[in-house]
Symmetry: C2
Subunit: 396 residues, 2 copies
């Protein structure tokens, strides 16, 4: 592991290690102060509030047990030789991710979200049964933005050779723990909804426990090595060596250029699930999908178009470089926002520019993401499902 990667790994581990204090500061301590500051008159109106806050406190402590198990496993798995007090200090964004991971855990690995997951799973399985009915261990699938690995595991259980790809160290550490930590079905009891104080029907709905994972994963995926995970940027690892500008997500490095050259036309299927809106440049994603698919291969997509950088004010340094010599030119600071293509524009670019053929398209599919079924606001994303086929003609 390189020095930078090791630093990022330890910083992420440290964020999990510090979840408890962060969450108590964010969710519990200010509310205790509010309670103590209430007039006696108003305290008598809600005498149960202090006991309720104690339950919030205890739920956060229970959640932190999950992260302590994860850290213990990761320290072994990555042979970490430094003590926690030597690990790099996590940022606020790192700490916020330790809270968001609970939504992700519910979404991917709880019975709670069976219905949510089946919205994609049922459509994907139907298509795969039709397109790839046989010799599935010879069918290579790539899942960029694999998150905590559920879609990868579902595809492996269907018999496909599946590679997950993920950029986030938070996701990678949790998925590695779930996939390789010898965890039994329902081993961990979590309180994923404790962090949300709005739109609760009752205190009980906020304090509900959820068991994860909903299967003994290593029993399900077996030992035949159909599953793999890669760490890094999708465009960096699988994109073309032409036509993409160098940035934090795409490096001009001989090693990466070799990896990308080898990735060309290597996959039968790319599955993007709540993924295509996560990057700075959806055209780079489309170029990468085009590059990594075999002729006649399939792009299966599901999700909304909630562009992650839409309101981000940061800039990113980008540059052209010569793919043969590596010489850099035209270095520029560019805003990360922009290029948020509409659904129609993505599909028309995919078909008319990239030469994909539209096989299936379903619009306006409502789907939640890690919802608390007992909560008042069940945010539903309006999603698209589509299957595009890469042109079989040589040269496309």
């Amino acid at each position: 592991m390189e020095e930078d990667d090791n630093h990022a790994l330890l910083q992420t581990l440290n964020s999990f290690w510090n979840y408890r204090e962060y969450a108590l500061d964010e969710f519990w301590r200010p509310r205790m102060r509010r309670w103590r500051g209430l007039s006696e008159h108003q305290k008598r109106m809600i005498p149960w509030y202090e006991r309720y806050l104690q339950q919030v406190h205890d739920a956060i402590l229970a959640n932190s047990q999950f992260y302590h198990s994860l850290v213990a496993h990761s320290v072994d798995a990555w042979e970490v030789d430094k003590a926690p007090d030597e690990w790099p200090i996590p940022t606020i964004a790192d700490m916020q991710k330790t809270v968001l991971i609970f939504t992700q855990l519910v979404r991917e690995w709880s019975v709670e979200c069976n219905d949510e997951r089946s919205v994609l799973l049922s459509r994907m399985a139907a298509f795969m049964d039709e397109a790839y009915p046989r010799e599935r261990d010879q069918v290579s699938i790539l899942v960029p933005g694999a998150g905590l690995g559920r879609v990868v595991v579902d595809l492996v259980r269907m018999g496909f050779r599946t590679e997950g790809n993920e950029l986030s160290y938070h996701m990678l550490l949790v998925s590695r723990y779930l996939l390789n930590g010898s965890i039994s079905c329902f081993q961990h009891q979590l309180y994923p909804f404790v962090h949300s104080f709005s739109n609760q029907t009752s205190r009980q709905s906020q304090l509900r426990a959820v068991q994860v994972p909903d299967m003994t994963i290593y029993m399900e995926v077996g030992n035949d090595c159909l599953m793999s995970m890669s760490a890094g940027s999708f465009v960096d690892l699988y994109g073309p060596n032409l036509n993409i500008r160098q940035s934090g997500y795409y490096s001009n490095d001989p090693r990466m250029r070799n990896i990308r050259a080898e990735a060309a036309s290597s996959k039968h299927v790319v599955v993007t699930n709540f993924f295509i809106d996560t990057g700075m440049n959806v055209l780079d994603y489309m170029e990468t999908i085009q590059h990594v698919l075999k002729p006649g291969g399939h792009w299966v997509n599901f999700g909304p178009l909630l562009y992650h950088f839409e309101t981000d004010h940061h800039c990113e340094e980008t540059a052209n470089f010569d793919p043969l010599t590596g010489v850099v030119s035209d270095v520029r600071e560019e805003p990360v926002k922009g290029l948020e293509l509409s659904q129609e524009d993505i599909l028309s670019t995919a078909t008319s520019v990239f030469g994909f053929k539209l096989l299936r398209h379903e619009k306006n599919i409502k789907c939640g993401y890690g919802s608390n079924n007992a909560e008042m606001t069940m945010l539903k994303y309006t999603c698209n499902f589509w299957v595009l086929q890469k042109c079989t003609t040589v040269g496309q």
Copy 2:
């Protein structure tokens, strides 16, 4: 007008005056930079993008015309004698509100949101027909968080004497312009969705024009003075003089204490529409509703419980004070987050502590807020509708 109020008024006016440059900086200029920085290869993929950005630019300019009319009207109405370059500099939060106002305009004053508005309107009208069928000009209604005044106008059109109350200068300036600016039906053409680049089905859905207002308001409300508006904090203007701690939203001031004493038992009905989750302390809101209602009066509520301060890290200085002498004690900095009561807890506190009687309650009502009907993600809030009746017994 007091000096502080005048300063806030001019600062808000200045934010409307500067909407154009703010919106171009936020939504148009960074995307033009992205476009110019794209490789020629990718520019050829989306050759229409530059023309589309020109349309975004033009839509922002059209929106700014609305605010220029508003500023011209307000300068006359408030007899502003300073030139814009002498007005106080608006904050980023002020500028963000100039964008959010467009959602509010669609929500309250466009045909687009007829269906959204009728979710409350149909239920409220049915209840009012039953409870207050006659002598409606003798029935006093208060609408805290009146926003741009639509619910107030709807109640006045039903014949009720209705007072809107609003804290936000942005809302107050726009509603004053709409209600008193002699504006004709559909006079203004706005592009309210131009600020949102995510979840668009097509560019056309983002660039859609909406006409406001959907009626000639001054013709609808007539000249019989059933309508009035108050500016300030709901709790400060209408709350009890006991049991509420002094804060930025509740002052210890002899003038306000007199106003509050006069407000006691003065209203037949309080209508809260997307309001009860907007404050720091929902118990203060409930005390105020209890205080301002006549015995046997009705609290009609509609909305979600998306507590505005749930994730806010600020603190607010609060203190006890003697309602007779005004002497302050127990000054404290308190977090603004906290006390986010669940739906069940609000209703049980209202009935068991405040002695309200629950007349109607409907849960899980889905309702959008200023939605673009052509957009992919139509966020629906899960709302409650309830009617509570204040106890008729003396002393409650």
